[in-house]
């Protein structure tokens, strides 16, 4: 009897507090965290409107007050009622910004009748140089009807903060400067909730396919 009890004890898990127990517990906890992360990543990828999407929806976006290319005041409330594709950039940007806006234009042209449900929005991170007039000339060069927004340095900072957009002036020789900036296309639903995002690696076809599914 005593012998059986000894055997049983040796095959039992080590007592709480022992180094081996702690190691096993730490590994299990690590697996749970990794698993949750993977689940969230997959949930976000496949179902941006699902549970995980709701968590992020409150984290991206927010109130702003800016002025459009015609000098009219535009707030976050004015974006409701349509899907929005929001990109932060600047007109002196020779590469990433025109590529993003042209990608958006191509994606929209592939939406057919659904294109009217989507409003592309270009928000400058360079209000010092980007006036409503220069923005107007800039965005009319693209096929899609783009709402272009600027404002005071503070107004732009508030909008960028809401969308978790980083930007910083990078001085160059001769007094010129470029802007470092987050290069992301945000998709906001007609209620103003963050729904999906695209990067410079997203081809226009990927953007339009995703939008078709989202708009339904």
């Amino acid at each position: 009897m005593a012998r059986t009890s000894t055997t049983a004890q040796s095959s039992n898990p080590p007592p709480r507090g022992s180094p081996r127990f702690l190691l096993v517990a730490a590994i299990l906890a690590g697996l749970v965290i990794l698993g949750t992360g993977a689940f969230l990543a997959l949930a976000l990828r496949d179902n941006p409107r699902g549970a995980a999407g709701t968590v992020l929806a409150s984290a991206i976006g927010g109130p702003f007050q800016l002025v459009d290319q015609n000098g009219k005041t535009v707030t976050d409330a004015d974006l409701k009622g349509k899907w929005s594709l929001i990109y932060f950039g600047y007109t002196h940007c020779p590469d990433a910004c025109p590529t993003a806006l042209n990608d958006i234009s191509i994606a929209l042209s592939e939406l057919g009748p659904k294109r009217d449900a989507v409003r592309p929005v270009f928000i400058t991170v360079d209000p010092e140089r980007d006036t409503p007039e220069s923005l107007k000339a800039y965005v009319t060069s693209f096929d899609a009807p783009i709402l272009a927004l600027t404002g005071t340095a503070e107004q732009v900072a508030q909008a960028a903060k809401g969308y978790r957009v980083y930007y910083a002036k990078h001085p160059e020789a001769g007094g010129d400067y470029s802007m470092d900036h987050s290069s992301v296309i945000y998709v906001m639903d007609p209620e103003g909730r963050f729904t999906a995002s695209f990067t410079h690696e997203s081809a226009p076809e990927q953007i339009s396919e995703r939008l078709k599914k989202l708009i339904g």
């Binding site: 007109t91 020779p94 025109p98 800039y138 693209f142 010129d176 900036h181 987050s182």
Partner: protein, 152 residues
């Protein structure tokens, strides 16, 4: 007649060998994006192939006050553009400047670049010296050269 055909065939072989391995530095697929509105800056892109190692050290064009070599890099989601002092061209390996990578930044354009126009661009190489090429302007935000630029 037979000799003539033989000579022609030999000529073809030599020509195709020359195509596969350029005997001197070549600049192809020269294009730029149209500049939207009154944008003062544009970007030009090229593909450079050289049989021997070389280095692109500067650029200039009559359409802009100055032309600089720039690189783009993504750090996380943040796009950064920085001037670079030169671009190494390894022997026999084509180097392609493209959106999201390196470009020739045209700063202070005298006129906006319109789709369909073309302009001269001079590239200075450490060993091969200056090369002037014709750049074709594509749509603003295009991701690559169109058929017209690819022919150059």
């Amino acid at each position: 007649m037979f000799i003539k055909i033989l000579a022609f065939a030999a000529g073809l072989v030599v020509a195709s060998a020359a195509l596969a391995q350029p005997t001197q530095l070549e600049v192809n697929n020269t294009w730029a994006g149209a500049t939207p509105g009154k944008a003062e800056n544009g970007a030009a892109y090229v593909t450079i192939t050289s049989p021997t190692a070389d280095r692109l050290v500067s650029a200039s064009s009559p359409v802009a006050k100055k032309a600089e070599l720039h690189s783009m890099s993504m750090q996380g989601m943040v796009m950064k553009m920085r001037p670079i002092t030169g671009l190494d061209i390894p022997a026999g390996q084509p180097v392609t400047l493209k959106p999201g990578g390196e470009h020739i930044m045209l700063m202070g354009l005298n006129q906006p670049l319109h789709e369909g126009q073309s302009f001269p661009l001079t590239l200075d190489f450490e060993k091969a010296g200056p090369r002037t090429v014709t750049v074709t302007v594509e749509k603003a935000g295009a991701r690559g050269p169109g058929p017209a630029a690819a022919k150059h």
